[in-house]
Amino acid sequence: MRPVRPPSPPAACFAAVSLLVALALTAGCADPDPTTPVDATTLARLTSEGEAGLRALGKGRFEVVEYRAEETKRVDFADPFAFHTRLVALVFRARLRFLTRLHVPTQSDLDARIGAAGWTIEESYDGLTLHEVLGEGAHEAGSEASIQAAAMFVDLRPGLRFERIDHVR
């Protein structure tokens, strides 16, 4: 009887497996996002523009008593066309003092306003922004609120452009 000869194994197979596993692993990690670095100069600009954006949002409604930038983070939204909206979010904390009574409507109230007499799209954008940043409810004149929010900058590659104040996403 001829002895059973174990197949020489497949050192090649093991090598191939190792290579493939390595490839599969690296493929998942080796797709660096070409991001715009946020250097110190840029960070200073973003901080300044973020504060200006917050003050603009509060114009006639609240003043910014304190404003402190905390960190930047990247946010990426993709639409059904796989088109990416890449943003840099400057997360900040701020203390606001309300100049007048401010009532932030609920989402359903905001929704119900759409299309009503005197309504504009800009009004909805503004209402939704306040809702996202402050939450719904009333703030009495003279009262203060501390918030954590984000100044959102669209990444134009190259360049960052202030878009809006938003809650932290």
Binding site: R2, P3, C13
Partner: protein, 399 residues
């Protein structure tokens, strides 16, 4: 069973288990997100198959049929593999014309003149004599002054009859002029410019209305591929000039229109993923897209003015550009605001249909859009047509 045989069976089991694991790993790693990962996964599957076959043959019971026909079986399996690979290669090379997905979007059957044909300058365009224009194949009446309406499938009127489309309805109201619907499905801003440039010399335009679809005009203008598996022109503003910068047209069209890949182009997401994965087409960054679109708006306006026409841009939204319950979509994914800003920054005459649409009762508004929330129904076309006719009258665009 002898000890040697048991060892051999155990070894066979180990090899086959290893091959099965590799096969599963490969199958699980199949993805369209990364070419290297896809190739690695396919290679893993191939190696697993070869491994399992080699183990089965090498460790076959001595004296059995498999053992005695080892080389024949190996030759047969090798031949089948080679024939399969050759077949796939040939299928990838056999040109079958535009994909099913593209035809579904752009093909009009039973027409004497083709409503769509690949066009090296514009990507695709209606073909026929210059007097026949747009995907609706309108015939130019040279004796009349023209109102030109140009857009994509929104104003072409996908899934509605021609008599229900906004341009047709406008033609009934503006009877002193011939309203020509130049719209072509899938077009984006540079294609409006290119097609207008081609058709305008054959008309007597008094008014040119460009329908800017906020649902995808922005995204597609910065790309050389479409979700329908067809290449399209890509321009970029360089040193003040509009320069065509396509780099992967042949790959996109060759692939999407091949026998092998044509069936895969049936859904848009897969078409997009495959186009991007295998052809690495060029895509502009956000800042470049904005600059390009601003420049194209200016070029379109110059073209119209040079032909003696007033140029008006009409913003055509999808149903949910503004959705209180979806802030991310409203603020970051919708291109309505950025397109509107670009038009206003360029001081272009602009008609925004969105506020007008939103002033309609919800039920009526819901009924104005098809289920894709983008294309108008017949009642949506009626709303848009009535509004545009009213604006034309109020602003005196035809006076």
């Amino acid at each position: 069973m002898s000890a040697e045989r048991r060892v051999a069976v155990a070894r066979k089991g180990v090899h086959l288990s290893g091959a099965a694991c590799l096969l599963l790993l490969g199958a699980d790693s199949l993805t369209l997100a990364s070419l290297s990962q896809l190739l690695a996964a396919l290679a893993a599957i191939l190696v697993a198959l070869v491994w399992s076959a080699a183990a089965a043959l090498a460790l076959a019971a001595p004296g059995g049929w498999i053992a005695s026909h080892r080389w024949q079986i190996a030759l047969l399996l090798g031949s089948i593999t080679a024939a399969t690979l050759l077949g796939l290669f040939l299928a990838a090379k056999i040109h079958m014309g535009p994909s099913a997905a593209f035809q579904r979007e752009h093909f009009v059957p039973n027409s004497e003149v083709q409503a769509q044909r690949s066009d090296p300058e514009i990507g695709w365009a209606p073909s026929g004599p210059p007097s026949i224009v747009g995907q609706r194949l309108n015939t130019i009446d040279p004796a009349r002054a023209h109102v030109i309406i140009l857009g994509d499938s929104i104003l072409y009127g996908q899934s509605v009859e021609e008599a229900e489309t906004a341009p047709f309805l406008m033609g009934q109201a503006l009877h002193d002029h011939q309203v020509l619907n130049l719209s072509v499905s899938g077009y984006s801003v540079e294609q409006y410019w290119l097609y207008l440039r081609r058709v305008l010399p054959h008309t007597h335009p008094k008014l040119v209305m460009i329908g800017v679809f906020t649902g995808n005009d922005f995204q597609l203008t910065g790309r050389e591929f479409t979700p329908w598996g067809h290449s399209k022109p890509l321009y970029r503003e360089e040193k003040g000039e509009l320069v065509r910068v396509n780099s992967a047209e042949d790959c996109i069209d060759g692939l999407s229109q091949s026998l092998l890949f044509r069936p895969l182009w049936r859904d848009q997401a897969r078409a997009l993923a495959l186009s991007q994965l295998l052809c690495t087409p060029r895509e502009l960054e956000t800042g470049d897209v904005e600059r390009l679109i601003a420049r194209l708006f200016a070029e379109i306006e110059s073209l119209g003015r040079a032909a003696g026409a007033r140029v008006v841009f009409v913003l055509l939204p999808n149903r949910y550009e503004l959705n209180i319950y979806a802030p991310v979509e409203t603020f970051y994914l919708s291109r309505y605001a950025v397109l509107k800003r670009l038009l206003l920054d360029g001081a272009h005459e602009t008609v925004d249909t969105y506020p007008e649409l939103l002033r309609h009762p919800r039920a009526e508004l819901d009924g104005a859009f098809q289920s894709d929330s983008s294309h108008f129904t017949a009642s949506g076309h009626r709303i848009v047509a009535d509004y545009l006719v009213k604006v034309i009258d109020e602003k005196g665009y035809l006076r």
